[in-house]
Amino acid sequence: MSGNIILRIVGKLFIPFIILFALYVQFHGDFGPGGGFQAGVIFAAAFVLYGLIFGVEKAKRVIHPNVLQTCIALGVLLYAGTGVAGILLGGNFLDYGALNSHDPVHGQHLGILLVEFGVGMTVASVMMSTFFLFASRGRPS
C-alpha cells in the first residue's frame, strides 16, 4: 500500500510535464526533431501511465473511449480536409500554397501545422484506445 502512495505522487508530478512535452514536440516539429507521430505517441504514453497508476476505470472517466473513437476519425478527416481545402481555394489536392493567397510560404506553414495536428490526434487516439482495449479485455464488463 505504501508503494502505491509513491507511485501516485510521482505520477501526479510527472504526467502534466509529459503531456506538456508532447505538445511541445507537436508544435515545434518544424524547428527541431519532432512532429505528429512522436507527439501522439508521447501523449498516449502519459495517458497509459495514468491508467496504470490510478486504474483503468479512472482513466475511462478522464477520456471516454467513445470520444477516442471519434478522434481517430477526426484526425484523418482534418488531414484530408486540408487537402480538399486546397482544391476549394484554387490549387491542387494538398497544395498548401493555396491556403494563403498573399504569401505561399505562410500557407505552407499553416498547412503543415494543420496536417501534423491531424496526424498527432489520430496516432494518440489509436494508441490510447489500444491501451483501453487490451486492459479491459480480460475483465468482465
Binding site: 524547428f31 527541431g32 526533431p33 507521430f37 489500444t130 482495449l133
Partner: protein
Amino acid sequence: MIEIDVGLINYWVVIFLMMTGFYIVMASRNLIKKMVGLSLFQSSVFIMYITAGKVLGGTAPILTKPGTDYSNPLPHVLILTAIVVGIATTGMGMALIIRINEAYGTVEENEIRSQDAAE
C-alpha cells in the same frame, strides 16, 4: 585503417540482425515470439536504410548556417513511415493472437495445427 571497412561491417551486422529475426520467425513455435522476431527483422532493415543515407561530415538535416553538409533526409522520411506502419502491423497481429488464444486455448503453432487437424 578502421575507416575503410567500417561501412561494410555496418551492412554485415545488419544482415546478421536480419537473419536472426528471420530465424526467430521460422524456428519458434510461439506466435508471440514470431511477432517479436518479425519486428526485429523490420528494425534491421531500418538500420540499413539509415546507414545508406549517412554522409560523412554531414549533420542532422535541420537547416542552420548556409554551407553545412546535411545527411540525406529522404531515407529518414521513409523509415519514419515504416516504423509507424510496423507498429500498426504488430498491434493488429497481437489482436489476432489474443483472439486465437480465446478460440484454441493456446498460442503454440503445433498445438493449433493439431486441433485443426483433429476437427
